[in-house]
């Protein structure tokens, strides 16, 4: 049996630890809730406690899962000759499907995330709620976090372009993102390559 002094120390430790844990859990709970009036009021404090060490986002294919394929194609220019578009994603995908433990799968992840960042993906849930309905809001157009992420995505895509074209001795390279939306559920028996396709072109990049 611990002595009275030890019991006091234990009780104080328990109360302090339990209070700190409950405070964290209450804050984390609020942090993880969808946008709501209480959160709007406390968002600054809430974020200050959770960032950077406890920042978390458990959307995990929610509320709606990603439903598009992003294929990166690159063309290179030597003098006045412009080469064909070359698909640099499909070979990585094929390897990833064959072997889940290939390092090429990690390069695929980088490529995919760079394209998503360039296209304006955000983890900021306020944007997800507000911006599809009011895209012209200043917060939706000029969000510095989005701008920084988009810049990062563009840099990495251009770096991938440079690495691809430098092997061909090219002076310029250009990346293009092919956004493929597979057939919807009602057309599920169509081949997967059918569906809508959209292209997003990046500017020409000088090859160092």
């Amino acid at each position: 049996m611990p002595g009275a002094g030890m019991r006091i120390v234990n009780t104080v430790t328990m109360v302090v630890m339990a209070t700190a844990a409950l405070f964290y859990l209450a804050n984390a709970y609020l942090y993880l809730t969808p946008p709501n009036p209480v959160k709007a009021r406390l968002v600054r404090w809430n974020d200050a406690i959770m960032h950077p060490f406890f920042a978390q986002n458990w959307h995990l294919f929610a509320p709606n899962p990603i439903n598009r394929n992003f294929i990166l194609t690159i063309r290179c220019r030597v003098g006045r000759t412009v080469g064909p578009w070359e698909d640099v994603t499909t070979p990585l995908l094929a390897r990833h499907h064959l072997d889940r433990h290939t390092p090429l799968g990690r390069l695929l992840r980088v490529q995919q995330n760079a394209m998503l960042l360039y296209l304006g993906r955000s983890t900021n849930e306020w944007r997800r709620v507000v911006c599809p309905k009011q895209p012209h809001l200043k917060a939706c157009r000029d969000d510095p976090e989005i701008a920084a992420r988009r810049e990062m995505g563009q840099y990495v895509l251009q770096e991938l372009t440079r690495r691809h074209c430098v092997r061909q001795g090219a002076e310029w390279g250009q990346a293009r993102i092919l956004i493929h939306r597979p057939p919807v559920w009602s057309k599920r028996f169509l081949p997967v390559h059918r569906g809508d396709v959209l292209y997003v072109m990046l500017p020409w990049t000088p090859i160092r």
Binding site: M14, W58, F61, I66, V156, W185, V192
Partner: protein, 412 residues
């Protein structure tokens, strides 16, 4: 009166360390995950994290975290940094100074994730937070290469340990409940077709299997609603004594499927790494008790003794081997014919069944289980009997020559 006792009971509960086995398993699992991660990235480490990688150091340093080691280590020391990260993961797995290694491992995980944010997924995010809580936890009680030190139980440390584990479990529950509620809001999760759309995205599919799922409405709707139900009801089911094993089993199955079909191996591993904490020490001990086995072999048979020595070296300590010649309460005639085993509940098995039991209790012998089971089903005990009859038995102080098995069996 009972209410008055609640604080005392709480104090008594908090001042005893719980989940020690689960905490050690979690440490090992997180260490192995880190080794897998570093190993997977080894051949492409320069592209992913190197000074001249796709996101070069010069760009990264413009907005690097103050806690990132990449900020302070010169580019020329990149290889040393990578090697140090691997060394820390090895030491964490082995349980060498586990608390210190957890802190260092968190520092490396934080640094690498910050260095290349294009690689991260929910699993990486989860591990980063869990490691912070794991610093509070005593993860070195089991599965460690360090010699056990005579340690005085410091009750305040026990309180910190228990709170750390509870925070990890709460974080796991938050993850499931949070994503579950977000999914409920999504249109395709509501109409039951979310799984179809996910498996149509090339990055998250396994074409060889996906087509059988995406063409089948039962599998798509079942998988979609099953995911939401699992996530939303994870916490209440875990707290219920009748459903907790079901929900733990469902969770394991769920994440194994995510790893296999969607190819998100590290995500699934990150989540499963904390699953050992869902079981208490008593539950682990109960499993070990149920799995403990006594095997009675023929100590007068040299080849049997050699085989048992080999099995002992491969085993996990769950099987205790004894020569039946020294255990009078065992039916000597029966034991002389076939190797016998006795479980903790007293159930006796013999011959091939014992070999299957032994192989099932040693991970390195698991590959032998299927052929043994097939042999048992096809030939019964005949294969074993054929070998047992031909064994040589040397009776100590008995026969001068080798005695046949049948002759020796009658002697004590």
């Amino acid at each position: 009166m009972r209410l008055k006792r609640v604080p005392l009971r709480l104090l008594a509960w908090f001042t005893t360390e719980h989940w020690l086995i689960g905490a050690s398993l979690t440490r090992v699992s997180l260490g192995l995950l880190a080794l897998y991660y570093y190993g997977l990235h080894l051949s492409v480490r320069h592209t992913l994290y190197g000074p001249d990688g796709v996101w070069p150091l010069s760009q990264y340093l413009l907005d690097a975290s103050p806690f990132s080691l990449f900020r302070y280590v010169p580019p020329s020391a990149f290889e040393a940094l990578y090697a140090a990260a691997i060394a820390v993961a090895v030491l964490l797995t082995l349980g060498v100074f586990p608390r210190l290694m957890t802190v260092l491992h968190w520092l490396f995980v934080w640094s690498f994730q910050d260095r290349n944010p294009l690689l991260g997924d929910g699993g990486d995010n989860f591990v980063r937070i869990i490691l912070l809580f794991l610093v509070l936890v005593n993860t070195g009680a089991y599965l460690t290469v360090m010699a056990p030190r005579p340690r005085r139980l410091v009750e305040t440390k026990a309180i910190v340990h228990n709170v750390g584990v509870l925070l990890i479990l709460a974080q796991l529950a938050y993850l499931y409940v949070s994503t579950g509620f977000y999914k409920v809001m999504g249109e395709v999760w509501q109409n039951g077709t979310a799984l179809y759309y996910i498996l149509r995205v090339e990055e998250f599919t396994w074409p060889a299997l996906a087509r059988y799922i995406t063409h089948n409405p039962w599998l798509v709707v079942g998988g979609t609603y099953g995911t939401v139900l699992f996530e939303v009801f994870f916490l209440p089911a875990l707290l219920n004594r009748y459903t907790r094993y079901l929900v733990i089993g469902a969770g394991v199955l769920f994440h194994v499927n995510i790893a296999l079909i969607m190819g998100l191996v590290t995500f699934a591993w990150s989540m499963l790494a904390v699953y050992p904490l869902l079981l208490t020490d008593d539950e682990y001990r109960g499993v070990v008790r149920r799995w403990r086995l006594e095997v009675f072999y023929d100590g007068w048979c040299p080849s049997c003794v050699r085989s048992i020595d080999l099995l002992r070296s491969l085993g996990t300590g769950l099987v205790r081997y004894r020569s039946f010649r020294t255990v009078p309460e065992i039916d000597q005639d029966r034991a002389a014919r076939r190797i016998l085993s006795r479980r903790s509940d007293g159930a006796i098995r013999e011959g091939m069944d014992v070999l299957i039991q032994i192989a099932g209790r040693a991970p390195c012998l698991w590959p032998a289980v299927p052929p043994l089971v097939v042999g048992r089903v096809l030939f019964g005990q005949r294969l074993y009997d054929a070998m047992a009859r031909r064994r040589l038995v040397m009776v100590p102080g008995g026969c001068d020559e080798h005695c046949p098995a049948g002759q020796a069996s009658g002697r004590p």
